[in-house]
Amino acid sequence: MISKGATRNSNSRRIKFARRFVSALLHMRNQNPRPGSLSIEGSVRTRSQRIKIAAYLSMAQAVGSRRAWSRAVLSKLGSRARRHMRRMGRSSLGSLKKKRVIRSYSPGELGQAKKLRQLVPGGETMDICSLLEETAHYITCLATQVKVMQTLADNFSK
């Protein structure tokens, strides 16, 4: 029963992620203005970067605003950022880094909490308790996204 529910949830989540990811990929592809201006490696790198951004974006969109990390990702990769990125032809995430926010340190936690905060989007302003919760959800979504991309890559490589 529990496994069935988990499977069902994971399946639906996978479907959601897959759909969004593919649509984001196509969208990105359509937005690519200059396919031949860059070198092969550069184009590949750019494309891979775009794909990565598309992956994160689709993942966050699939989750919606329910989670703090998805909100953070969406704000980071907002439509403006996307347009900017497209215009620049490369990732402009660096320019859109979030401002440093004062974190609420929880006593007793080592530098691991800091590391975790850097890993999980939007984890800068969270206390350990919610950080752990967000991390759990983030991990599940990341795992699903990885599976989706893996399947896609496998299909393409066949």
Binding site: R14, K16, A18, V22, V44, K52, N155
Partner: protein
């Protein structure tokens, strides 16, 4: 005594069988044991009326009136059951066996309950039902009438501790019967004494005879409790007698506190078992029961183990659930634990306002609100860490927060690296990520995944019939439409249903999505009309042509 032992069994087995669904065997067993247990106690007690009165006073004075208020409706029956059980166990000679028989003969639960009332009033020394005695006796002749017993119920219901205990007993009787050994009689069958004893490791000063048995039962109960799902959050384990009403008493050494004085006794909680509880009686639960219960479970078990050796036995035994027990304890522990009592008093003040999660301080630990909040927070964090432990593969053996955090960080980093690697792979594997992507996706998906739901096959054929070259334009338009459409309109539900092998194969067409169709080129739509005829919704067509291919692919994942 013999009379009691002989008469009750018949009555109890029948009545209990009707009242509760405990195993007959347990009831009978419980029946026998308590009698033996109670007899010595009763002998010890000076007078029948005294225990009743003292217990009654303790019951009446039990503070958790609010709890009782919240419980009575549902606990009336349980109270009756409890009383019945108690009565059966401690049948006194006051009530003629005939009343029992009369009550027994009636198959009506009410009647049995009423007869049950009779017995406990008279016999159990712990139960101070002197007040109710007259009431019940007056209503004795009326069997099967619930109304006459209502007044008797009132004093009981007025005692929140009793109500809760009754509830616990009944729930325990219902739930623990299976978990307990045959030899272990359900808690319900054993009035307060058993409950308190159970919590105690085994030393029940008052009931030497029972003590040893109790200890055994307690251990069994503990194991049983581990399996039992509590009906009441406050009742996670036998050894964790908490008083829902006594939510305010968050004291490590609660048990001892309760013992002194009858009033205290009503606070049956075994404060030694610190645990988080939601005051159900107050109806305020901030967190889900599962969380505290899970935590309580662990903490309680730990507490029990740690406190087993302490002098809980003294206080714990009686107070836990029964006022009568508490009373007995009070008697036995006349000296009482002054410090414990003080602790209880100290714990009382910081009772949090309603809507808060009531946390009970563990025995021997600080009781100020700060440390309590700190403990709550720590438990929250540990709970989340455990959840994460399940998520991260290979972390079952890892213990400790630091190591766990390292593992989590490594896992997140590895996942992110995987995403990056896969995106690179996707970028290289399919450099022509343009026209034929959708087509290839659909083709690959349909070819690689043979386990497509039957409903998808017709669509598959339709898709293949459509010229691939035709698709890209439509794809772009489609995706433009898709992109324009809000994600909410995405037929997630439809695909999800599809993934579940929707037998009908028909998905509810989403009008919102349908509106996007006109934006797509018409001929593409016309081609898909055949698909519609196959029973697929319009949105499906679009989704299939769009990322539907991927979605279908995911269906098989």
């Amino acid at each position: 005594m013999e009379k009691e032992s002989t008469t009750p069994p018949n009555w109890t087995t029948s009545s209990f069988g009707m009242e509760i669904q405990p195993n007959e065997l347990n009831c009978a067993a419980a029946d026998q044991l308590p009698n033996s247990f109670f007899n010595p106690n009763w002998d010890n007690s000076v007078d029948q009326s005294d225990p009743f009165e003292s217990a009654l006073s303790s019951i009446v004075s039990s503070p958790a009136a609010s709890n009782a208020a919240a419980i009575p409706g549902r606990d009336c029956l349980m109270i009756r059951e409890l009383i019945g059980r108690l009565g059966s166990i401690c049948n006194s000679g006051e009530i003629s066996p005939q009343t029992y028989v009369a009550g027994n003969t009636t198959t009506n639960n009410n009647s049995t309950n009423t007869s049950g009332y009779n017995t406990p009033l008279n016999s159990p020394p712990k139960l101070n039902l002197s007040i109710m005695d007259s009431q019940i006796r007056g209503s004795l002749p009326i069997n099967g009438h619930q109304v006459p017993f209502h007044p008797t119920l009132v004093p009981f219901s007025a005692d929140p501790g009793f109500a809760e205990r009754a509830a616990r007993f009944s729930s325990f009787g219902n739930t623990n019967c299976i978990g307990l050994n045959e030899t272990d009689f359900p808690y319900g069958l054993m009035p307060g004494m058993e409950y308190g004893k159970m919590s105690n490791a085994s030393s029940n000063q008052q009931f030497k005879v029972v003590g040893s048995q109790m200890g055994v039962q307690e251990k069994n109960k503990q194991e049983g409790n581990v399996v039992v799902k509590r009906k009441f959050i406050r009742l996670p384990r036998p050894s964790t007698p908490e008083n829902a009403e006594l939510g305010d008493s968050r004291e490590g050494s609660s048990v001892s506190e309760q013992i002194p004085g009858g009033e205290v006794s009503t606070k049956v909680d075994s404060d030694s078992n610190a645990r988080k509880r939601k005051s159900i009686s107050r109806g305020k639960a901030k967190e889900t029961p599962s969380t505290p219960s899970a935590k309580d479970h662990k903490t309680t078990v730990e507490n029990e183990e740690s406190n087993a050796k302490r002098s809980r036995q003294d206080e714990d035994a009686g107070n836990e659930k029964d006022s009568a027990k508490a009373k007995a304890k009070a008697d036995s522990k006349a000296a009482g634990d002054g410090n414990q009592k003080q602790n209880k008093d100290n714990s009382k003040p910081p009772e949090p306002p309603k809507d808060y999660i009531h946390v009970r301080a563990r025995r021997g630990q600080a009781t100020d609100s700060h440390s309590l909040a700190e403990r709550v927070r720590r438990e929250k964090i540990s709970e989340r860490m455990k959840f994460l432990q399940d998520l991260v593969p290979g972390c079952n053996k890892v213990t400790g927060k630091a190591v766990m955090l390292d593992e989590i960080i490594n896992y997140v980093q590895s996942l992110q690296r995987q995403v990056e690697f896969l995106s690179m792979k996707l970028a290289t594997v399919n450099p022509r990520m343009d026209c034929n992507m959708e087509a290839q996706l659909s083709k690959d998906i349909f070819q690689s995944r043979g386990a497509l739901p039957p409903t998808l096959y017709p669509l598959d054929s339709v898709m293949r019939s459509i010229p691939y070259g035709y698709q890209p334009q439509q794809m772009q338009a489609l995706h433009g439409g898709i992109a324009n459409e809000t994600e909410n309109r995405f037929p997630v539900n439809s695909l999800a249903a599809l993934s579940r092998n929707n037998p009908s194969g028909q998905l509810p067409p989403m009008d919102g999505y349908g509106e996007a169709v006109p934006q797509v080129s018409a001929p593409w739509e016309d081609d898909l009309q055949s698909v519609v005829q196959m029973g697929f919704g319009q949105n499906q067509q679009q989704s299939f042509h769009g990322s539907g291919a991927a979605a279908q692919m995911k269906v098989e994942l």
